[in-house]
């Protein structure tokens, strides 16, 4: 598998912005993630239930949003190179029926170690920041 950048240490500098990537979140993907992760909480699939507990609509699993940000991190040097990954769930991603919600993920190099880089990740839905304090440590050659 060839990943962009092939993750050579010499390719990175502190402060460097990595190319952003857009991901789609919709109801069908939430059902897919519920099955893949085992998290079948109805607030992620059933609009009437979500509204009955005070939400405006169905919301994405926080861990689905984080998994997509993780996909962004894996693209640097493969999933096997990801050593640490963290995030705070700031705001829910609201997913109305029949709508493709866009999640825009971007990253910045914040630290360089001997054989790894630390990335700060930003995940936005429109102008709403949905993940905060998100960082990943990725091994690079």
């Amino acid at each position: 598998m060839v990943y962009f950048g092939s993750a050579r240490m010499s390719n990175y500098d502190v402060g460097q912005e990595l190319a952003p990537q857009s991901f789609t979140i919709n109801r069908a993907l939430l059902v897919g993630y519920a099955n893949a992760s085992g998290d079948q909480n109805p607030i992620h699939q059933n609009e009437a239930f979500a509204q009955s507990v005070g939400l405006e609509n169905v919301i994405a699993h926080g861990m689905f949003t984080m998994a997509l940000a993780g996909r962004y991190v894996s693209a640097i040097a493969g999933s096997a190179a990801v050593k640490e990954f963290s995030a705070r769930f700031l705001k829910p991603v609201v997913v109305p029926a029949g709508v493709d919600v866009e999640l825009m993920v971007s990253g910045k190099v914040v630290e360089i170690f001997d054989s790894a880089i630390k990335i700060e990740i930003t995940a936005m839905c429109g102008d709403i920041k949905v993940l905060g304090m998100s960082k990943a440590v990725v091994e690079v050659k």
Binding site: M1, M63, A80, E84, F89
Partner: protein, 127 residues
């Protein structure tokens, strides 16, 4: 409120999770990951969150009011098909903040004696 005497204790899960190629592939497909040879970095949540749910429900916590606040993973090596993972969960802290109970759980996943990954979940129990 969780009973203070369970804070700091480690609970070794009764189940062993046999990681299959199918379960890794299914997880990869939902996030658009083309490499199915190892599990994506957040795959282990599939095991650990269910274990935390069981432990915290058994400890009297109302899981219906739980919101995921933060998540962190430290991955010693990627999870692969064929791993048999056992989860040990430690309730590291439980405290009240502005009327909400905030519970921090550490989950260690071992394949036999090897610590494959450790993760920390911060869960907020809404008042």
């Amino acid at each position: 409120m969780l009973s203070p005497d369970i804070v700091g204790r480690t609970f070794v899960g009764a189940n062993i999770f046999a990681v299959t190629e199918e379960s890794i592939t299914e997880f990869c497909l939902t996030i658009g990951e083309p490499d199915f040879s190892v599990a994506p970095p957040t795959f282990s949540i599939k095991i650990t969150l269910a274990e935390s749910e069981t432990l915290l429900k058994d400890s009297g916590l109302d899981w219906n009011r739980v919101v995921h606040g933060e998540q962190r993973f430290e991955i010693n090596r990627p999870i692969i098909a064929g791993d048999s993972l056992r989860c040990s969960s430690t309730i590291e802290s439980a405290r009240m903040v502005a009327g909400n109970e905030i519970v921090s759980v550490r989950s260690d996943l071992h394949h036999e004696a090897e610590l494959v990954a450790a993760s920390w979940s911060t869960l907020v129990v809404r008042a």
